[in-house]
């Protein structure tokens, strides 16, 4: 499996993602600087990592969404290549219009960093098929602006189309309908606030995140 991890100024989970992909599925991982206008050929997965791209200036993900590399990501997504935005990467995908909604300041105003238990709401996606009969996942979250927001009709559409992929069992930050992760209409673009890249082997407290990467590999 070939994967690319995008690196924005201020990304801080880019190397975590690389190690997670190498160890969980033996992926060959390219690190791609945000100024690049082309992505490596033959990719199975593009990861937008966590962090604080451009210092979260203006709005989280707003400036990163306009980076040169994002045109190539948009083209790749249109061709059906899997794209996963984790935490700040989710914010970037929303700002880029590749996913609906936005991530607001957490209710409670705190940066929340802890393990969270998730329901795997849709186990049939390219990012969750490997969960099989398992309908729960444990990962860590770490965000101050992870409070998912979309208008009611968008939320209804997401639910109706099976595009809510992960839901918090106990809502940690006020996210609408406890949503922790969604996919786009075609099902090849995932945004998830908790970190599969920080939960890919038992020594990290959970290996459930590895199932996300294994799902992508199985669909590649």
């Amino acid at each position: 499996m070939k994967a690319a991890v995008l690196v924005f100024p201020g990304s801080n989970c880019d190397r975590d993602c690389k190690v997670a992909l190498e160890r969980s599925v033996g992926a060959q991982v390219s690190m791609v600087w945000h100024k690049e206008t082309e992505l490596p050929s033959g990719l199975d997965l593009i990861v937008l990592p966590g962090g604080f791209a451009y210092g979260d200036y203006l709005r989280c993900g707003a400036i990163a969404a306009l980076s040169p590399v994002m045109s190539a990501v948009r083209e790749a997504a249109a061709k059906g290549i899997a794209v996963a935005g984790i935490c700040n990467g989710f914010q970037v995908l929303c700002e880029a219009g590749l996913l609906p909604g936005a991530l607001l300041r957490n209710v409670g105003l705190k940066y929340v960093c802890k393990f969270v238990d998730l329901d795997v709401v849709n186990g049939q996606t390219r990012f969750t098929a490997a969960f099989g009969e398992t309908r729960t996942a444990r990962m860590t979250m770490g965000n101050g602006e992870g409070n998912f927001f979309a208008d009611e009709s968008t939320l209804d559409r997401l639910e109706g189309e099976g595009r809510v992929v992960f839901r918090y069992r106990e809502n940690p930050n006020g996210s609408a309908r406890s949503i922790a992760g969604i996919v786009n209409g075609a099902g090849n673009v995932l945004g998830v606030m908790p970190h599969p890249d920080r939960a890919f082997e038992a020594a990290l407290g959970s290996s459930d995140g590895a199932l996300v990467f294994q799902s992508v590999m199985a669909s590649a």
Partner: protein
């Protein structure tokens, strides 16, 4: 010309900063305060001398970058 833009969360989008500041103002004794909303102001100089044209440009900047229409509204002044 000078452009001044106010960006604020749309009505109906919970402004948790506004809530926190409102609670603190109540603690300080200003019980009559309600509906606190916190936004941001952006100012810059823009070349040209046609305010209408400049306003159109600034509106486009808001749509492209300065505001997120999913959650934010904005108000533009050019003088």
């Amino acid at each position: 010309m000078k452009a001044r833009i106010h960006v604020f969360l749309k009505p109906g989008v919970l402004d948790v900063q506004g809530k926190a500041v409102e609670a603190e103002l109540h603690t300080l004794g200003w019980d009559g305060v309600s509906d606190v909303r916190i936004g941001r102001a952006i100012e810059f100089q823009i070349a040209g001398d046609d305010p209408n044209r400049a306003r159109d440009e600034v509106n486009r900047m808001c749509e492209r970058l300065l505001a997120n229409p999913v959650i934010e509204g904005y108000r533009v002044e050019v003088a």
